[in-house]
Symmetry: C2
């Protein structure tokens, strides 16, 4: 191991507005020998996620911001290549938070085994990972989903949205999703099996399109986008409707804040609940999510959709595609 | 009774923007004889409430809009002057929804006895009535108030806010209220006994002022105003904070919609719940509210504050004062 070197991607500077390649830098460092209780993991897959945009700037949030010069720690899956912990053996596949690098060396506590027999290991970064659990938490706990609800999912062909759509369908809900291309809409209809799909770039006025798709109104809005999507959803929410605020990707790169929904007072008139959440506060639901999602995957009722960028050096490009909507399903980087 | 005449106030036309006197008309009609099961009530007090603004226009909401030419039915308290129902006797004081008129004649089912021994009967339109219950529902059920929470109440010297402040204080909370005059702020501090009061007209930047008042952040926001108040509250909410959306009086007369809060994405970062509600869906809490509020009133720990306009003919003026902030506490009209 002593001669092994590892590439890593660091935050080079803090972006204002949309990040670009100059905000990242690639460095190469030696892989240090593991201490007692530590393991060495060769990363094979890593995840790029919208929440990391917030960590690139210095703001109070649920996650500590990255410092300039630090590696962009993120979710990854890899294989144990050396272990000084009884918890892991060489060859084990593990999920962990030390992505954006070739090799991770850290105490065993920060790693979690994944089962390659259940699904390809990269699925543990997507449908069977944090995005899938996020969909589950948002629907079940935050939006209090009931069988048969009318559900509107924005960014429905994304990592979280694609799972949210299918979990809701599995419970007999009427599901409509929005996405930014006809390809994505076709996948949502043909593969994910939802009831209607809206291409928000071509459907014209979003409030009108959502209204046509929901003649009986919306009970649950799983909101990943914000902006006009949230306005359109609010306009068609039924009394006692629930909105799970999962993301507002439309606004993450705003230099000056976008106005909020001008129709928020409908929340009073219609007794609506809007609730933001972060998956890390709801990890108690993971066992039941894994049981449900695992069964659906095996039954072929939860289709995984992933977009893969090859090579660690292309991780920044993969990350930036999240904001142009070029990702389709879970955006992954294949490292080795 | 046959020669008795009753004045009543009708919706003359639908307002666009701020209503004015021309949107109301005063008419006089004979008081009809009560049918079997009906009673006749001489109204003594009536209530003007912000929710009625929404009923003046033709929109889908929780309440059926008034039709042009109809009487502005609203909350009132009066005395039974004739009864053809075993439920009520002459002289009983009753609460009902047939205000904006001198005499109400209707089936007994729509009336409810009030106890003049507990408090002056007009209190059943304010602190012991729907505004008080609204405060209770918003704090206890919607915002899930916990003893010791830090609570921000906007329009704190209003009918609902003044009760919300005192209910929260009675549970050991740290309470800050906003109001639109120094008189109101003094009352909040000296009579309602809250911890700090902000005059939002003179305090400068509201986000900054709220920040100074809440060095440890806000757990519960009881929101009556919307607009910059909600933005300021969001900016200082603690993780897992709850916002009871009770009113957005700042926006009720908008001709074009005001932008919503540009910082709504904080709801995600801080796991906030925003929930709108309407008191009529929570009447199951009335017995426990009456027990708690009644005890506080008797103990002198729930101070009533009312603004009275004399004469039914001045009801429109009283109503309009709600939107200029000229009311202080519950706005009432003394009819007879």
């Amino acid at each position: 191991m002593s001669e092994q070197r590892s590439r890593e991607i660091r935050l080079a500077s803090r972006p204002v507005g949309l990040p670009n390649a100059s905000h990242f830098e690639l460095a190469t460092v030696p892989v240090r020998a593991p201490g007692d209780g530590e393991i060495v993991v060769r990363n094979e897959w890593m995840s790029v996620d919208p929440y990391m945009r917030g960590m690139m700037i210095d703001q109070k949030s649920y996650a500590r911001p990255f410092q300039v010069g630090e590696v962009m720690d993120g979710r990854a899956v890899g294989r144990v290549v050396a272990s000084r912990s009884p918890q892991f053996a060489e060859g084990d596949y593990v999920f962990h938070m030390h992505g954006w690098r070739d090799y991770a060396v850290a105490p065993a506590e920060g790693f979690e085994k994944v089962d390659p027999a259940l699904a390809p290991v990269e699925a543990f970064l997507g449908a069977l990972g944090a995005p899938g659990l996020t969909a589950y938490v948002g629907l079940m706990r935050i939006a209090e989903l009931k069988d048969g609800d009318a559900v509107f999912v924005s960014a429905a062909a994304g990592a979280v949205g694609s799972v949210a759509c299918q979990l809701a369908k599995a419970r007999g809900c009427y599901v409509v999703g929005s996405a930014g291309s006809d390809d994505k809409c076709s996948w949502l209809l043909d593969e994910a099996g939802i009831d209607a799909a809206l291409n928000y770039r071509t459907c014209g006025d979003l409030t009108e399109a959502v209204g046509h798709a929901f003649p009986k109104g919306i009970d649950v809005n799983f909101e990943n986008v914000g902006g006009p999507h949230l306005v359109a959803a609010l306009n068609h929410m039924n009394t006692f409707g629930r909105i799970a605020l999962c993301g507002m990707i439309a606004q993450y790169n705003d230099v000056t804040p976008s106005p909020g929904p001008s129709n928020l007072s409908l929340a009073i008139m219609r007794s609506l609940k809007l609730q933001g959440f972060v998956v890390r506060n709801h990890l108690d639901l993971k066992p039941q999510f894994m049981a449900e999602a695992g069964a659906l995957i095996k039954a072929g009722k939860l289709k995984r959709r992933e977009t893969v960028e090859e090579g660690l050096e292309n991780a920044p490009r993969a990350f930036l595609k999240l904001f142009s909507g070029e990702n389709f399903g879970k955006m992954l980087v294949h490292i080795a």
